[in-house]
């Protein structure tokens, strides 16, 4: 990122290649609509490009990237009518769920997918940041602007619900 900030356009290509798939899945599984997910994914990278001048290597680039992703996600949920404080408990709005995605795959997998999709946004985000982005609990706390206890608690709740769905 520092090389890109210094004008090396090729450095961004390397960064992008490294993080594109994981970030895309993180967004895709956080947002019920694929179209909106693609839009948000692009917005996140645009923010990365815009913010290159202010980037300082205080933490791993991955943490910084997912902090931007988290902020975009919070904006999205707020626009959808969920306040930041309700993210721990609220279910996603029912009318935004994509039935086609729920119907995909085998029954167990569909059940797991439904359980993931049904998690409160903050718990799902903690799980995806851990499982997909490979962030530690401390990094999840940093990326989401919370404390480690809250991050750990969200992750554990998410894992318990997903494990129940996976055991079927």
């Amino acid at each position: 990122m520092l090389a890109y900030r210094g004008g090396d356009g090729g450095a961004f290509d390397i960064l992008y290649k490294r993080h594109r798939a994981r970030l895309f899945r993180f967004v895709l599984r956080s947002i019920p609509s694929r179209g909106v997910a693609e839009e948000l994914y692009q917005e996140i990278w645009m923010r990365v490009i815009e913010a290159r001048g202010s980037y300082a290597p205080k933490a791993r680039f991955t943490t910084w990237l997912y902090t931007i992703a988290h902020n975009r996600m919070v904006d999205h949920w707020r626009r959808s009518g969920l306040s930041a404080v309700s993210l721990d408990d609220a279910d996603p709005p029912a009318d935004t769920r994509d039935p086609a995605r729920q119907a995909e795959g085998r029954e167990a997998l569909a059940r797991f997918a439904a359980a993931l999709e049904g998690l409160p946004p903050a718990q799902r985000e903690a799980f995806l940041l851990h499982e997909e982005a490979d962030l530690s609990v401390a990094e999840i706390a940093a990326a989401t602007g919370s404390n480690e206890e809250a991050a750990k608690s969200r992750l554990r709740y998410a894992l318990a619900k997903l494990k129940a769905a996976a055991d079927g």
Binding site: Y4, G7, D8, G9, F12, D13, Y16, R20, A21, F24, R25, L28, R29, E38, Y41, Q42, W45, M46, I49, E50, R52, G105, A108, L109, F112, A113, L116, H130, E131, E132, S136, V137, A138, E148, K152, L155, R156, L159, L162, K163, A165, A166, D167
Partner: protein
């Protein structure tokens, strides 16, 4: 912090698939990153050239309107006289070629410009000159190469001496060189 992963949950999660962004999305993002990394000078050069051309036309129209107003007529006549001066007198003749040739304080000031311009440490990249043979403009060019502050000081002197046409021209070049520099109002107005 220990890994909180559950192997069964992780396996189920991986079975959901490994979707990737569509190629068109990749392309759009990479293109934006390349545009952002490209040098920014490209867009403003034509803009600066257009601004200079516009300023030149404005000055020409104003000079024409003023007609035989003393100041406006004598200013363009000065370069004609200087064209015939020997090139060897280029730097030394700067004060002599000016309208206030008998002013020793001014001669000393302009001679100082020449000396400072010779300091290599303070000289930035050379500026292309449109009329290098003109002795009076040589002193101005020296100031231009010195620093923006000195350049503006020189323009202020031209204004004080009533050499507005030269001041306008120098100001236009200054703005081309330093488009973001805030020029004091009194240097813009005649």
């Amino acid at each position: 912090m220990a890994d909180e992963r559950d192997p069964l949950v992780s396996r189920r999660y991986r079975e959901l698939g490994s979707e990737e962004p569509p190629p068109a999305l990749d392309e759009a993002i990479l293109a934006a990153s390349r545009r952002a990394a490209a040098p920014r000078r490209r867009w403003y050069l034509p803009l600066a050239a257009a601004a200079v051309a516009l300023l030149a036309v404005g000055i020409a129209v104003q000079v024409e309107r003023q007609g035989p107003d003393g100041e406006a007529v004598t200013a363009p006549a000065a370069p004609e006289r200087r064209i015939h001066e020997p090139k060897a007198l280029k730097r030394e003749s700067v004060p002599a070629a000016s309208d206030s040739a008998g002013d020793p304080a001014r001669q000393e000031r302009e001679s100082r410009f020449g000396e400072r311009a010779a300091e290599p440490a303070a000289v930035p990249a050379p500026i292309p000159r449109t009329a290098p043979t003109e002795a009076r403009e040589s002193a101005l060019a020296d100031a231009m190469e010195e620093s923006p502050e000195l350049w503006l000081k020189r323009i202020a002197e031209l204004r004080t001496q009533g050499r507005h046409e030269e001041a306008d021209k120098a100001l236009a070049e200054f703005r081309q060189r330093y488009p973001d520099y805030k020029v004091p109002e009194d240097l813009i107005r005649r």
